[in-house]
């Protein structure tokens, strides 16, 4: 097992001179078995890093798409332990693709920080994004994650000025997630021209790779971001695909992986086109 899958992956991307494609899906959406199939298929579809949503009853930073995905997962009875089991099952076939869990603090607090860090690391999780846990409140969580070699990935946003940025990047590792728009997931889109200077600023302050997300829906948008950032994150557009395919009784796994491939291709070739 690589000692640190996230660092390893970004080093490899840098060597290839391309940005990474980060795919987000919600654990347990549309159901646990299908979500596991999708998860297992994502690396072959071109996902360099996977963000796996931990469902929460009150996802305050999500737009309607991921709110509904969260509700579907909870209606399916998905528990935190089942999400960790999903990652464990994924690791039976893939020991290289970083898996980041993305969710809200209360389910993790309820599980217990130390127990969660232990079980997540053992399952093969690499990092955690906790939307409602700013640096001011993160010390005890970071202590627990550090003990098991997990990264707490921090979010920087358009409202993060330089003074704030110094606070945000304290005690972080792996990469920084730049939220490219002020808003919830999957609603507004960012201008690539605004993203470039922000990415440079975050890189300089953190010394870490920067992934950009929150407003990327199309291959063209993903490619534009891939030219200026270390990785492009797509979530709502994939989750929309899952929802639509499930509603139409289509093959959900096939549909979403095909969408992921399209986006991955755009990200992979983005810098070649400009070169």
């Amino acid at each position: 097992m690589p000692t640190n899958r996230i660092d390893h992956r970004f080093a490899a991307l840098k060597a290839e001179n391309r940005a990474g494609f980060v795919a987000y899906i919600m654990a347990g959406d549309p159901d646990l078995a299908t979500a596991l199939d999708i998860l297992k298929g994502l690396p072959a579809a071109g996902a360099d890093i996977i963000e796996l949503g931990l469902p929460f009853s009150d996802p305050m930073a999500e737009g309607p798409t991921i709110q509904r995905a969260s509700q579907r997962a909870l209606a399916n009875g998905v528990k935190t332990r089942a999400v960790l089991d999903m990652v464990r099952a994924f690791r039976e076939q893939d020991i290289e693709t970083p898996v980041i869990l993305m969710g809200y603090l209360n389910p993790i607090l309820s599980y217990g920080f130390d127990r969660f860090a232990h079980d997540a690391a053992e399952a093969g999780v690499d990092g955690l994004i906790v939307v409602d846990c700013p640096p001011e409140e993160a010390d005890s969580l970071v202590d627990a994650l550090d003990a098991y070699g997990l990264s707490l990935i921090r979010l920087a946003t358009p409202t993060t000025d330089d003074v704030r940025l110094a606070v945000v990047v304290r005690r972080t590792s792996g990469f920084v997630y730049y939220v490219s728009v002020a808003g919830v997931t999957g609603v507004k889109s960012a201008e690539a021209s605004d993203v470039a200077p922000a990415v440079a600023r975050v890189k300089a302050a953190s010394g870490l790779p920067v992934a950009v997300g929150f407003g990327i829906r199309t291959p063209a948008q993903a490619a534009a971001v891939a030219r200026v950032a270390d990785a492009a994150v797509v979530g709502s557009a994939l989750v929309d695909e899952i929802e639509a395919a499930a509603r139409l009784n289509e093959n959900v796994t096939e549909k979403v992986l095909s969408k992921a491939s399209e986006l991955a291709k755009a990200v992979r070739s983005a810098r070649l086109e400009t070169a």
Binding site: P55, F56, S57, D58, P59, M60, A61, E62, G63, P64, Q67, Q71, L74, K79, T80, Y104, L105, N106, P107, I108, L109, S110, Y111, V131, D132, C133, P134, E136, E137, R154, L155, A156, T157, P158, T159, T160, D161, R164, V168, V179, A182, G183, V184, V187, K188
Partner: protein, 406 residues
């Protein structure tokens, strides 16, 4: 967990990190962090600015109608045969509840901060009406998020908000009640960071809201403390208030915290009963967690998912509670009792019949504990109850519960 010890300086809370012991704090998305930190700075400045305080006092006097009376509820006291009961008459404020005390403070702060658009969440609609009222008075646009279920059961208040020029946006996500309305208001705020001020209606949310809302509501307790000494020549033996998020309660309690002889009682809504899954008693039936920007007692399942609350009173129908109440509960300075829907309904009718006051269903939860408290404290004792709102808004709910049609 650390065993809390009773602090001797209650004004020391929250600390610099916005904590009341283990509770409170600021758990919001990074996009909002600069905004809540700016709000904290702006509020601290305003609080210490005599001009701000004087302007607020002026509006409280001439627009809200303060001070509200402290009224000796003679017939109810006689009926219960124990301690003398006084009502702090917050239902006589403009808009009919204590909510306006907070809204008046926050609208002046929002203006001072140069904000041009106000958003708010509401359950029963009382905070929504108070928000719509102050935004009308100061000429700012206002969007009120309200669960679709509450929109349906509180139609008169929706109409009031519309008359006052506010836009009411029904929220259909989740259980479509107060907590979902609060989620949606947070989503609006995170999307409109430059111009929008989020006017939270209760003493909860990220720091500085719990402290700020408490400070604006503390006018209730400050007045009551002075009024009861004028009426009785001494402090009361007990103060009592209903607790949902807990803003009227913390407003009454806070000025009495250092008076060790004064017992403090909050009353949570236990809906169909604590043994059922249909209640709203976060302290009595929940455990600590993080939601809506603060750490506090919450109704949640074993996996940390937030549960839907239930109370006949839409204003108490919330699965959390202000963090200072969690703190007062843990350190034992306040005791939290519970009251079922049925007990509240009975108290609602008793108060109307004996005192000629139709109380809000929220306030009826506190009223329902008076027989027990009046007896415990006994004749010669004095109790102050916060009559937080009037019950006109609740007549349809009550008629329905009593099987009558209006």
């Amino acid at each position: 967990m650390n065993v809390p010890t009773k602090p001797n300086d209650w004004s020391a809370y929250p600390d610099a990190k916005g904590r009341f012991g283990d509770y409170g704090g600021l758990y919001v998305a990074e996009t909002l962090m600069p905004l809540v930190l700016e709000l904290d700075r702006a509020y601290t400045e305003a609080k210490n600015d005599p001009a701000f305080q004087s302007e607020l006092r002026g509006y409280l006097t001439h627009y809200v109608g303060r001070p509200s009376p402290l009224y000796f509820a003679e017939r109810l006291s006689q009926h219960l045969g124990g301690a003398k009961i006084y009502f702090k008459r917050e239902e006589l404020n403009h808009t009919g509840a204590h909510k306006i005390n907070n809204c008046m403070g926050q609208i002046l702060l929002a203006q001072r901060m140069g904000k041009t658009r106000i958003i708010a969440e509401t359950g029963a609609g009382q905070h929504g009406v108070a928000s719509a009222t102050v935004t009308a008075r100061f000429g700012l646009p206002c969007v009120v998020y309200m669960g679709a279920v509450d929109v349906a059961r509180q139609k008169p208040n929706v109409f009031r908000m519309n008359l006052l020029g506010a836009e009411v946006r029904p929220v259909t996500s989740g259980a479509a009640t107060l907590k979902d309305a609060m989620n949606e208001a947070m989503r609006d705020w995170v999307t409109n960071v430059a111009d929008t001020y989020y006017m939270i209606g209760t003493a909860a949310g990220p720091h500085p809201y719990p402290a700020m809302v408490r400070d604006f509501q503390a006018v209730i307790g400050t007045e009551a403390r002075q009024q009861i000494q004028e009426a009785e020549g001494r402090l009361p033996d007990a103060v009592v208030a209903c607790v949902g998020g807990g803003s009227n309660a913390i407003g009454l309690f806070h000025p009495f915290l250092a008076d060790e002889s004064v017992k403090i009682y909050g009353v949570e809504a236990s809906g169909h009963g604590l043994e059922t899954d249909k209640h709203a008693a976060s302290l009595t039936g929940g455990r600590p967690g993080v939601l809506h920007g603060n750490k506090t007692y919450l109704l949640q399942d074993d996996d940390g998912q937030i549960l839907d609350a239930h109370s006949i009173s839409a204003g108490l129908d919330y699965p959390g509670i202000g963090p200072e109440h969690s703190f007062l509960h843990d350190v034992g300075r306040a005791q939290y009792l519970t009251c079922t829907d049925d007990e509240a309904l009975a108290a609602f009718q008793l108060c109307a019949e004996l005192e000629g006051i139709i109380p809000a269903l929220e306030s009826a939860h506190a009223l329902a504990k008076l027989p027990q408290l009046a007896k415990e404290i006994g004749p010669g004792g004095v109790i102050v109850l916060c009559l937080s709102g009037r019950g006109d808004k609740d007549i349809f709910t009550v008629a329905d519960a009593l099987g009558r049609t209006i």
